[in-house]
């Protein structure tokens, strides 16, 4: 079972081997009202479990044990729930291009522009929140879908294509009445208030029958 998207206080993770940077960022982030956890190495960060709250990662590109891009790969590229903001003392163009292509939200050079950093963190947290909510929603939909019987699923697949009950009966070799009954159960289990809503859900779930032409 899953819990709905949490609206607990966002967490900003900071991974940088330089103590001046870590401490100063910690103070700044707390001042803004977010939670923060700082780490001196990639290894230490990876040991930390995945957060449930919206989060983001402020990550130095050149860490002693693992460089930033490597760590990003280890975390998982498509982690929309924890956007990455790269920071670096070097700052050359090829590095920044690589970082952005790798899906970073932002790339900042030290000494850090405080406003730019805070804007990036705010945006990151927004994105994280959205991603978490969507993930939660998807989980719910999937759960609902799982609870459908196979027949109900078949009906759903044809309904979202806009077929009439009669046609569906023909297609599946059952009476129209049976179709209606399945449809009703299905709509109830899916918690869809209208056909349009169902179509949207189906779209998210990638459910649609392939019609032979």
């Amino acid at each position: 079972m899953s819990s709905p998207a949490s609206l607990t206080t966002p967490v900003v993770f900071v991974v940088d081997d330089d103590v001046s940077v870590r401490e100063s960022l910690e103070a700044l982030i707390r001042c803004e009202g977010w939670q923060t956890e700082t780490f001196g190495s990639a290894r230490q960060f990876l040991a930390r479990s995945r957060p449930v709250a919206p989060s983001c990662l402020v990550l130095d590109m050149t860490l002693p044990d693992l460089d930033g891009l490597e760590l990003q790969r280890l975390i998982g590229i498509e982690r929309l729930d924890m956007p990455i903001i790269f920071i670096t003392g070097h700052g050359d163009v090829p590095m920044s291009v690589r970082a952005m292509k790798a899906g970073a939200l932002e790339f900042l050079t030290k000494p850090l522009d405080t406003e730019a950093l805070l804007s990036a963190i705010r945006l990151a947290i927004e994105r994280s929140r959205t991603a978490l909510i969507q993930e939660a929603q998807m989980r719910v939909l999937r759960d609902r879908c799982t609870s459908l019987s196979s027949r109900e699923r078949e009906v759903m697949a044809l309904v979202v294509l806009g077929h009439l009950n009669k046609e569906i009966g023909c297609e599946l070799g059952i009476s129209e009445i049976t179709v209606k009954a399945h449809r009703g159960n299905m709509m109830r289990k899916m918690n869809a208030k209208s056909l349009a809503e169902l179509v949207t859900m189906a779209g998210k779930l990638h459910i649609a029958a392939e019609r032979d032409k």
């Binding site: 940077v21 700044l28 050149t62 920071i87 003392g89 030290k110």
Partner: protein, 560 residues
């Protein structure tokens, strides 16, 4: 009867001949004809010795003249007649030699049997120049008094002509020889002048001057170019004292030695020394000398001296540029040192900026967070000092201040460093053990720099163990001799910390890590450069157990 016309013609013929060979031929022919003889011999005295010059023979209608240039033998003519003429300078006329009792014993007369014989002297002034011998084989009394008179006339004519001819020939020859000699002389002079010009030019172009030094008398001769190099008046005779006045004072002793040696051993020499000119400028002179003996066996040196100042200055500039470059290369090749410096300074700078901003926010909060603001301000100051430290340390290491070079006892230096951080280590619960070799030879280098490296390694080791809880935090410092001939000294720092990624070992040496553990030391990048400038190596290796060992190895003093 004397045919005057013929005689005159004969006389003219004789006097017109200037060239000796044709004169002689003409003479004998005329004599033969005038005398009506069959055989004629012209005998000329050469260095008072009579020699047969020419022989003329009448055969039928022709007269054959043969140049003999031969010694006189009894087979040539009656000796008695010959000697008589030579002795008395009187003519000998024989009506019939064969019938003459005085000549009956004569070999020539007996063998050849001549009838009429005439032998007359050719006298010039009082000197006997030669003889004319004529004979008629067939007719006695052929040489009548008239004929003899004519011949005597011709003979005296001949004497003059012969002398003239000889004079002429001699003069002509002399002239020719004279002309040839002049020509040769002129050509020699030309060649010599060209050579001299060429030599002068070569000397001028190559700034080389020639000299001759006659050792016993210390006479010295210089070419013009050498005067120019030394800036002396070319009209003045050069002395050793004058030369000494130009030689650079620091090089005088060496030059003195050289001269002594040159005087005592007749050996070629080659030296380079400096000159100090009146305007205080310095010239470099390269000289070579070749020992030789003159006609009387006296030692003299012939040599050349070249002004190589330009060359020397260029070489010096090149050496300096090379060492400058080497130094710069050493500095900048250390993994983009500047980029690293910027990176390292950016860290505390970033801290300062962030802290200051946070401070402002805290003060702008409602109510203002005074304590928080104070804390952030304090941190900003700390970060600023840290940044300043980085720069100061780097300046001290690389810019202007070179590497000191002295004998360093690495054990003692290490003990000092340990004493410096013993309290820090204790606070970090680090158990320190030192195994410093007894027989460790001294190394040549900068004591302070080496201590900084040792400190760096110690601090890194302590850091690596700062998170370790499940095992003792042990730190071992070890010094020992190493290398095949024990010519290197090795120091190793072994810890029981977190170790490092094997693949990332090189990255460890690329950054300074000046801000690690409160900024107490320099980073591995700088440490490595220090060790490398001591002609050593710095490296890291993972232990078999937990942790890593960082080591460096440098050649000890006395190894090249």
């Amino acid at each position: 009867m004397i045919d005057v016309a013929t005689v005159i013609k004969a006389s003219q013929a004789l006097s017109s001949e200037l060239v000796l060979p044709s004169l002689i031929e003409t003479l004998v022919r005329i004599a033969l004809e005038q005398a009506g003889a069959q055989r004629a011999l012209l005998i000329l005295l050469k260095a008072d010795e009579p020699r047969i010059e020419t022989e003329a023979l009448r055969a039928h209608d022709t007269v054959e003249v043969t140049f003999r240039d031969a010694v006189i033998t009894p087979a040539d003519l009656p000796q008695v007649a010959l000697y008589h003429v030579l002795r008395t300078r009187e003519s000998v006329v024989l009506d019939d030699a064969s019938a003459n009792s005085s000549y009956s014993e004569d070999e020539y007369v007996r063998r050849r049997g001549p009838r009429s014989v005439l032998c007359l002297p050719i006298v010039r002034q009082t000197r006997l120049v030669g003889l004319l011998y004529l004979e008629n084989q067939l007719t006695p009394r052929a040489f009548t008094p008239d004929r003899v008179a004519v011949l005597e006339l011709l003979a005296s004519q001949a004497a003059i002509s012969l002398e003239n001819a000889r004079l002429y020939t001699d003069t002509y020859q002399e002239n020719c020889e004279h002309k040839l000699a002049l020509e040769r002389l002129r050509r020699s002079e030309d060649a010599l002048r060209r050579r001299e010009e060429f030599l002068k030019e070569a000397q001028r172009l190559s700034l080389t001057g020639g000299f001759v030094w006659r050792v016993p008398s210390n006479e010295i001769a210089w070419s013009r170019q050498l005067y120019r190099i030394f800036e002396f008046d070319p009209e003045v005779r050069v002395t050793l004292a004058m030369i000494g006045s130009r030689v650079h004072p620091e090089d005088l002793p060496m030059l003195g030695d050289m001269l002594e040696r040159a005087r005592n051993e007749a050996a070629d020499f080659e030296y380079e020394h400096r000159l100090l000119m009146p305007d205080r400028s310095v010239k470099y002179v390269h000289l070579v000398g070749h020992a030789t003996r003159d006609g009387n066996g006296r030692l003299e040196y012939i040599g050349a001296a070249q002004d190589v100042t330009q060359n020397r200055l260029a070489q010096d500039a090149l050496s300096k540029a090379q060492s400058d470059l080497a130094r710069v290369v050493r500095v900048t090749s250390l993994g983009a040192l500047t980029a690293s410096i910027a990176h390292e300074v950016n860290q505390p700078l970033s801290g300062i900026v962030t802290n200051a901003n946070t401070c402002l926010r805290m003060l702008a909060a409602d109510p203002p967070n005074i304590d928080g603001a104070r804390e952030t301000a304090r941190r900003a100051i700390r970060d600023a000092n840290r940044a300043s430290d980085v720069i100061t340390r780097l300046r001290a290491l690389f810019i202007k201040k070179g590497t000191a070079s002295e004998a360093v006892d690495l054990n003692e230096a290490t003990r000092e460093v340990i004493a410096l951080c013993v309290s820090e280590l204790q606070r970090g619960r680090v158990i320190l053990r030192a195994e410093l070799a007894e027989d460790l030879p001294p190394v040549t280098g900068d004591r302070v720099q080496l201590q900084q490296v040792v400190l760096n390694l110690l601090v890194n080791a302590a850091d690596a163990m700062s998170g370790v809880e499940d095992r003792p935090r042990q730190l071992l410092i070890k010094t020992e001799r190493e290398g095949d001939e024990g010519d290197r000294v090795r120091l190793a720092v072994q810890d029981t910390g977190v170790g490092f990624e094997p693949s990332g070992v090189e990255r460890l040496f690329e950054a300074f890590y000046t801000t690690k553990s409160g900024g107490m030391g320099i980073g591995l990048l700088v440490s490595r450069s220090i060790i490398e400038s001591h002609r050593g190596q710095l490296g890291a290796v993972l232990n078999e157990g937990p942790g890593a060992t960082f080591w460096f190895s440098i050649p000890h003093a006395g190894t090249r």
